[in-house]
């Protein structure tokens, strides 16, 4: 066990503050990573404030991690000290079930999330990437293509795979018409991927002032969703719609824009139930689906694809000391399009909060 610096929250109403946390000593197959950048995902905020329930405190969020390998266990074969690597939303799974065997660790019943999940090694909970160091089994460590900007690469580990995976699964490609609902952290990645896959891309937004941004990101068209006329022009025409909105919204209005065999996929998660008319789904054999990150092989494929097409997230780089302010701005969608924490800022800060977290780790 060694001590790492981290930003943690002590309760649902506490800010994130500097502390030290225990990290496990390396197992045979573990990789120790010096964190360079960590993206801020909206889930971090939900979890820190216990908005989905089940948060164990103290919590160290962060599952969009890019870093440099600082040490490897003796049985590690895929990585060497100095390699630039990534870690996403998962750090473990049973490795034996049908889903793991198929490369869908994200569907494994025994998957372990990067933070706030029971850690079978330490007996405590996992701590995320708002830290100077993480220890992760090599099965869950990803290679980062050398040409990518690292600050913009961090969000690929969650926002990237969350949008890439359903597009690949449902065959987004040249000749397809693809909609992206919402233009935030997920939506802007959806636009970039759909465009890179060769699809015709239409962004739906409630904010007319986002039109220029959407076009700059690669969208061919922008529809202001509050205009029934604009929406009607696209009726029955989409092959695929990526819905990134996590606030309540009219799902039927988008389902009716799907052509025959079209699919709309929810990757945002509105807390309230959605209202869905059977008559929106039955004509033309339409589908409403959900999708949840992606498996490890698929995440590596996504990163390699990003390397090839030079795709990263548009980020605003912040020091870790600004994280609480960043959360407030996130709530107002005041970021284009993802915050990426530069962890060099953490190195320079003295730990004030001793090892009070250690007790929590032993739970």
């Amino acid at each position: 066990m060694y001590k790492a610096k981290a930003y943690a929250a002590e309760s649902a109403s506490s800010p994130l503050e500097l502390t030290t946390i225990p990290r496990r000593d390396l197992t045979e197959t573990d990789v120790q990573i010096e964190v360079l950048f960590c993206g801020i995902c909206h889930s971090d905020l939900h979890m820190v404030r216990d908005e989905w329930g089940g948060t164990v405190y103290p919590i160290v969020p962060g599952h969009e991690i890019v870093g440099r390998v600082s040490k490897t266990g003796p049985a590690v074969t895929k990585f060497r000290t100095g390699d630039i690597v990534g870690v996403g939303c998962m750090v473990d799974s049973d490795g034996t079930c049908a889903q793991c065997n198929a490369g869908y660790e994200n569907n494994c019943d025994n998957r372990v999330l990067t933070y706030n999940s029971p850690d079978r090694h330490s007996g405590g909970v996992t701590y995320g990437g708002y830290s100077d160091s993480v220890v992760v089994d090599e099965r869950f460590v990803l290679r980062i293509p050398p040409n990518l900007d690292l600050a913009g690469t961090a969000p690929l580990l969650c926002a990237g795979i969350t949008t890439y995976s359903p597009m690949r699964h449902w065959g987004v490609s040249e000749g397809k018409k693809v909609g992206v609902v919402g233009l935030g952290g997920l939506g802007h990645m959806g636009v970039k991927f759909a465009r890179a896959f060769g699809a015709h891309v239409v962004v739906f937004t409630t904010s007319p002032h986002k039109k220029d941004h959407a076009l700059k990101l690669g969208s061919h068209e922008v529809v202001v969703s509050s205009s029934a006329d604009e929406m009607q022009k696209h009726a029955n025409s989409f092959d695929f719609i990526l819905d990134t909105v996590s606030a309540p919204h009219n799902v039927d209005a988008y389902l009716e824009l799907l052509g025959p065999n079209g699919t709309m996929v929810l990757v945002g998660a509105p807390p309230e139930p959605l209202s869905v008319s059977a008559f929106s789904l039955i004509p033309g054999r339409r589908s409403l689906a959900g999708s949840n990150i992606g498996g490890i092989p698929e995440t590596q494929e996504m990163l390699d694809f990003c390397g090839k097409h030079n795709i990263t997230s548009d980020v605003e780089v912040i020091p870790v000391q600004d994280v609480n302010r960043a959360y407030e701005r996130l709530l107002k969608s005041d970021v284009k399009y993802r915050f990426s924490i530069d962890m060099a800022s953490l190195k320079q800060q003295e730990a004030t909060a001793s090892a009070r977290v250690e007790a929590g780790a032993a739970r």
Copy 2:
């Protein structure tokens, strides 16, 4: 133009009564069919009573038609006088769009339904199969395998294809676990097809007394959906669920039974919007889809499959004079599992209601 006998309703509150209707003279590619049996679909009742809006009166319902070819147009190549044939929910489409070319006439924007749809030949509306005779373009006429019981074959033309098509599309086959929600006209066909495809079949019903019926139809297991315990045992395990229920019901409770990549398909059409939680769809990449009959090539495939596996609908054969009573029983689900009208009963009845419908046809 010639006169045919038919059962028609004059208004949303009128019973179906004997009348005569005009049928068009045969075009080059038309087939004239002496109707032998016509199934009663729940849509017939909705349309007769204008419960979905848009009904044009008088209406002659019926889109589960089995009959004998009595005459053919000079360019007809697929059928000869005396052939036993079927007609389902559609009698025309543009034949030129991408959907028609792919064999999905059911998704053609210009498809013409078997009744209550504008008829480009007569200028009026189409009249359905509660009649002694219909005239249909040969493109929409299907061959009936010789071994099938004709009364039980009629419902295959709607209830059959409606359940067969999504099962084929979503790959129901040996080794798959398939649920069927509701055990009526659609549900009982779903059980027969799922079983014939080699799947493990589980029927969900609200009525414990239907257990024996479900097992007799071929279901391997029956779950009483009001029992949370029984439901919980099947969590996260289904590949495919066919939802045939057209009354309000808890869709999330079934979505949570789907395993990874599982799909639930609505073929019943509850008039009220469904409440769907994003959290029921996102884990395991689940889908909620709709499906609407099937194309003509697929309908022929379904009939041939039924011939090979000797599958027909379980029917209660009634004379056409009992049709209004049958509608009342349908509302109470008091039929196992479909009414099939024996049109010989129509031949024996004198038309009392002259040709008052003819004016309507000219609209």
